[in-house]
Amino acid sequence: MSRRRVVALFRRVVSEIRRDRPSLALLFIAPIVITGLVTFILRESQAPQVTAVVVNLAGTRGQLVGSALGAALREGGATVSDVADEAAARAAIGDKAASVGVVIGTDAATGSSLTITAITNGLDPSGEASQVSAVLRSVVAAASGASGTAVPVVRHTTVYGTPTDDPITTFAPAIVGFFAYFFVYILTGVSFLRERTGGTLERLLATPVTRGEVVAGYTLGFGLFATIQVAVLMLWALGSLHVPALGPLPPFSIGLGVAVNGSPLLAFLVVVLLAVGAVSLGIFLSTFARTELQIIQFIPIVLAPQFLLSGVLFPVSSLPSILQPVVAIMPLNYAVDGLRQVFIRGADLGVPALQLDLAVLAIVAAFFATIAALTIRRDVV
């Protein structure tokens, strides 16, 4: 492998992208806008508007719990009112005058321990789940305030990191991995397709360059941009630069302020391995495309399943068991897991789970680099 040729290929790829403003915007601005938007949506929907009606059917003991619960709910921003019986509560929820009902009763079997029943409308399951969890959190808070009332105490603790309501903590690593994969694939695929259709590949292959040198040059070139992209995205995700109020502007902060426990360098390693695989995937798939539109058309086939099945949106453990073997062969899955190991668990190279992720990513990258090299010399005539 000639270093001079690889360097020349690398410099060419870099100059081409550097002059391509829409691609630069795609690489750097799009992920920041999208992650910012997603973070905003997820965080703001953290505080669902809770309008609770509380029914006490357990006498003075229930009264005590009910007031503690009401106070905890109010502290969480909820509107709380007391109603006389369960029928009134159901009517209020049915009319959407209230979003959740809390019935404090006595357990029929024991006749002594208290039960707490949450009532919701039933029309919007996912929204109501957050209502119920708001009640649950308040029960936890109330129980500590009203001791001796035999309300079961619910506590939440995690093995890695600290319990948090901030969904960005798990979302940020996934999105960093996904964007690196997505944009590197698109840019390489389109760029290599231009080589094929523009006649430059024909000419390139008329020189003594080897296929390995071409793949290496491309990988270095796009790998550089993937690395810069990841650096920018990580700064954005992990940063929390507070800008104080200035004149009419309210104070705000730049960056999503995601907590990270591990080494950013390890996170880099994960993403770079993923990006190397994506470069080769782009080169490989450009064999089957005749137009740039077709590179885009591969997205639903190649990228959408990875997006759905790699824990970016849906936790892998929640996926149907029939899909689990498919999950096991998704490269993005290992990158997302690896990034979460580093971000949340603070894993170092000694952690077997991270070793597995890195090994799989390296194998996938090597595999796609090989088949990419093999497809380069396809006859174009």
Binding site: R5, R19, A206, P208, V209
Partner: protein, 253 residues
């Protein structure tokens, strides 16, 4: 290394620069190149003439080692193609411009220079000088005119000063003035010892070649100087000679 005896150089004259022996390339049932055998001497310009789809480009790609033959073989400067190391002794100007439109003129030249293993920037600058693009060195290729791009494409095939040059329809879309310039470049290169194979379907360029090879349906149907071919066909111009030798039209003399 091969089972067949490597063709030995005949005692008469210099060894051939390019040699084809029973060269065949099939795409499915189509024989794009159909049993072609010839020797081409160094320092001469050979015109590959034939209609579109007659197999000229496939023949050039076989000779330049860009695709393996189905049968037979091609040799360039005594080395059997395809041979990657031998590519540094071959220049190839493709039918499409084959230059990077996001890069500058100089960046394109230096890039292809690096691919050919050329050391330093001087050869790239010399090649741009030769095609009169030195003053557009810093221009982005996308902003060039079609003729300028064609000149750059030629320059990129010349940077490594190859002794063998394949030019696939180099003058398509080129204005008459530039065409004259191109042909004087080709002549100067041939005089300096470069073997040039030019494909064209424009018959009026044929007389600028030292020798013509008429290609039709993947076969060489005639070979000789323009005068020889006209005499052989008994026609006044090459176009009619081509139709006549193709055997499908009775041409009025």
């Amino acid at each position: 290394m091969a089972l067949q005896a490597e063709p030995q150089v005949e005692s008469a004259g210099s060894p051939p620069a390019i040699r084809a022996l029973g060269l065949v390339k099939s795409f499915g049932a189509l024989r794009a190149v159909d049993d072609i055998t010839f020797d081409l001497a160094p320092g001469r310009i050979y015109g590959l003439l034939g209609p579109n789809g007659s197999g000229k480009t496939t023949l050039i790609r076989l000779l330049a080692g860009l695709t393996p033959p189905t049968a037979g073989w091609a040799e360039v400067l005594g080395t059997r193609m395809p041979s990657r190391p031998n590519l540094s002794r071959i220049g190839y100007m493709t039918q499409a411009d084959g230059v990077y439109s996001a890069l500058t003129v100089a960046e394109n030249a230096r890039f292809f220079g690096a691919m050919y293993g050329v050391v330093g920037d001087q050869p790239a600058a010399d090649a741009l000088d030769l095609v009169d693009l030195a003053d557009r060195r810093a221009s982005i290729v996308g902003t060039l005119s079609g003729g300028q791009r064609r000149r750059l494409s030629l320059a990129c095939a010349l940077i490594h000063r190859p002794p063998v040059l394949f030019l696939d329809e180099p003058t398509v879309g080129v204005d008459p003035l530039l065409r004259v310039q191109f042909w004087s470049h080709f002549r100067a290169l041939a005089d300096a010892g470069t073997t040039i194979v030019v494909s064209s379907h424009v018959m009026d360029e044929a007389d600028r070649c030292d020798e013509l090879l008429f290609v039709r349906s993947g076969k060489i149907i005639a070979r000789g100087t323009g005068r020889e071919i006209r005499a052989q066909a008994g026609t006044a111009d090459l176009e009619q000679a081509f139709l006549h030798l193709g055997g499908d039209v009775e041409v009025a003399r």
